[in-house]
């Protein structure tokens, strides 16, 4: 049986029957400006030898930089065993198969993953993952609105990743959900507490609380969670999984804990890879589980009392409930989750804590060294985890370009996202950086600014 089921003749026959001359004509209702055209960077079929050579040549053009950019995707050491095991034949399937229960190994892995994520976030249940952190947040917003019933308004502070806010708007705005952005305090870099009083008499379905926030700063999560609950709204935590090894998990924020926790899973063993594939995680309290989108794997016993794994609560999924499913735009990222599960198993809670502590220490050290340079200041006073915003006395784009010439990716220019901050740079140092690396960066920045 061929992998490509349609021959040229098949296609011609089908087109003739529809009454279209070409495939292009079949899709001509798609506006021309949306069509991406030819993929010029992708050559036609090449032999293995040719493609290996091409990819090696292209890899060298990426260069070998010291990376100090975080901003949502974090460079961490990935033990060689992670992908060695992940790519074994037994694991190397990227999806829950349609006949899910036939693949007990896949289901068990997802079950273990859910258990780890529920424990890391302090929540009751986790799903089997989502596309990425941004879509997981959008799904959390939809989930909150479905559960709240009387309000379709979501409060998202501007300290949430700007791309996440964009994705949330793109996904929820056509569902008559109102997204309201809350300002941040320009001193602390945290959600402006005064902005909450604007909602003293206003109803909303959920407050999104980032921890740490996009500036790397820690938010007052306990007070914010309690405030949201006092307004009969849900609290949605957007969290960094590495940070959770040290910080209070969302399930324990305030007096009742956040209701939903989401985030980007990439720091758990997934390489940066130019932005993807990554995976999103999502966990929630028990009373919201029926509104949680995606797959959930459960453990049960069969007729012989042997343990087994099954899909749970799938009556609400898209293949059964169609247009009324909890989500029609989600799936799990099976292969990435496999790697993350192996990564977490290898490190264990103590290993993860050490990665988090070293990343935190390196960032504090970097910020201290950079702060000594004339023309470099910390942008905010709030405590940080493994990332910090700086203001520079020179245009950031120019500084970054000078650093790049010295083999350093110096951070993210915040100008485009937050013009009000002026010349602001977001820097991150994970456990991958040595004291020497930090000194080199400080030296290079000094020259780039001076």
């Amino acid at each position: 049986m061929p992998f490509i089921p349609h021959t040229e003749e098949d296609i011609a026959e089908m087109l003739a029957s529809i009454g279209a001359k070409t495939i292009e004509e079949l899709f001509d209702e798609i506006p021309k400006e949306l069509v991406s055209g030819e993929l010029t960077g992708v050559p036609p079929g090449l032999s293995e030898m040719e493609i290996s050579r091409l990819m090696m040549e292209r890899a060298t053009t990426d260069g070998f930089y010291q990376n100090f950019i975080g901003a949502g995707a974090y460079e961490h050491h990935i033990p060689a065993a992670v992908w060695q095991i992940t790519t074994r034949g037994e694991f190397y399937s990227s999806y829950t198969p349609y006949q899910a229960e036939a693949s007990q190994g896949t289901l068990q892995l997802l079950y273990e993953y859910q258990t780890m994520m529920a424990s890391l976030t302090g929540m009751d249940v986790s799903n089997a993952s989502m596309y990425d952190g941004a879509t997981a947040l959008a799904e959390a917003a939809l989930m909150a609105v479905r559960s709240h019933k009387s309000s379709r308004r979501i409060l998202i502070p501007k300290t949430v990743h700007p791309v996440y806010r964009q994705v949330v708007r793109a996904i929820v705005s056509n569902q008559k959900i109102e997204v309201v952005e809350l300002p941040f305090n320009t001193q602390s870099g945290q959600i402006e507490p005064g902005s909450l009083s604007d909602f003293a008499n206003e109803e909303f379905a959920a407050l999104v609380i980032p921890q740490p926030n996009f500036f790397g700063v820690l938010e007052q999560v306990d007070a914010l969670t309690d405030w949201a609950h006092s307004k009969n709204a849900f609290a949605i935590g957007v969290v960094n999984p590495t940070a959770l090894a040290l910080l209070t998990p969302p399930g324990e924020w305030g007096s009742k804990g956040a209701d939903i926790a989401v985030g980007e899973g990439q720091p758990l063993g997934i390489p940066l890879s130019s932005g993807g594939p990554y995976f999103g995680f999502m966990a929630c309290k028990n009373d919201l589980v029926r509104q949680m989108p995606g797959r959930i794997i459960g453990r049960t016993t069969d007729l012989d009392n042997k343990p087994g794994f099954v899909l749970t609560l799938q009556a609400r999924e898209q293949h059964i409930r169609r247009s009324k499913a909890t989500s029609n735009i989600c799936t799990n990222q099976g292969l990435m989750v496999t790697a993350a599960t192996i990564f977490m198993s290898l490190l264990g809670p103590e290993g993860l804590r050490r990665v988090a502590a070293q990343s935190h220490a390196n960032t504090l050290e970097l910020v201290e060294q950079l702060g000594k340079i004339n023309g470099v200041k910390r942008a905010f006073s709030g405590p940080v985890f493994h990332e910090a915003a700086l203001t520079l006395a020179a245009p950031v784009a120019e500084v970054l370009s000078k650093l790049k010439q010295k083999g350093i990716l110096g951070g993210l220019d915040l100008q485009g996202y937050y013009p009000e901050l002026g010349n602001a740079l977001l820097v991150c140092a994970t456990e991958t950086k040595t004291t020497n690396d930090l000194q080199n960066y400080a030296e290079a920045l000094k020259h780039a600014i001076g």
């Binding site: 019933k149 009387s150 029926r290 009556a315 609400r316 059964i320 409930r321 009324k324």
Partner: protein, 129 residues
Amino acid sequence: MSVPTNLKYSKSHEWVKPEADGTVTVGITHHAQELLGDMVFVELPEIGRTLKQKEECAVAESVKAAADVYSPISGEVIAVNSPLADEPGKINEDAFSAWLFKMKPSNASELDGLLDAAAYTELVENEDH
């Protein structure tokens, strides 16, 4: 199981019991629970919610499917059978006593448009063939 003659029925398989005080009690029929199978969850409407006739107002979830329950008439929800959330199996045991919610009708004449036991039995029989 016989279809009780003291109740009214909707084509979407809800039963309606007119009470002496003018309110009505609503549930899903024996036939509906038979189609769905073992019930695992019931999502009930909010008390105080105003419903239009045929509006989606509850979800009956079984191991096989999550089915919407439609309001058989227009009116306000005045009570819900909250204990059912913990014991959804009661619907399988006796669908005609495991009520979902009570309503205060806003247009009592809509009750006249519902099916009686004979008409509902005929509907179910025709559906089966």
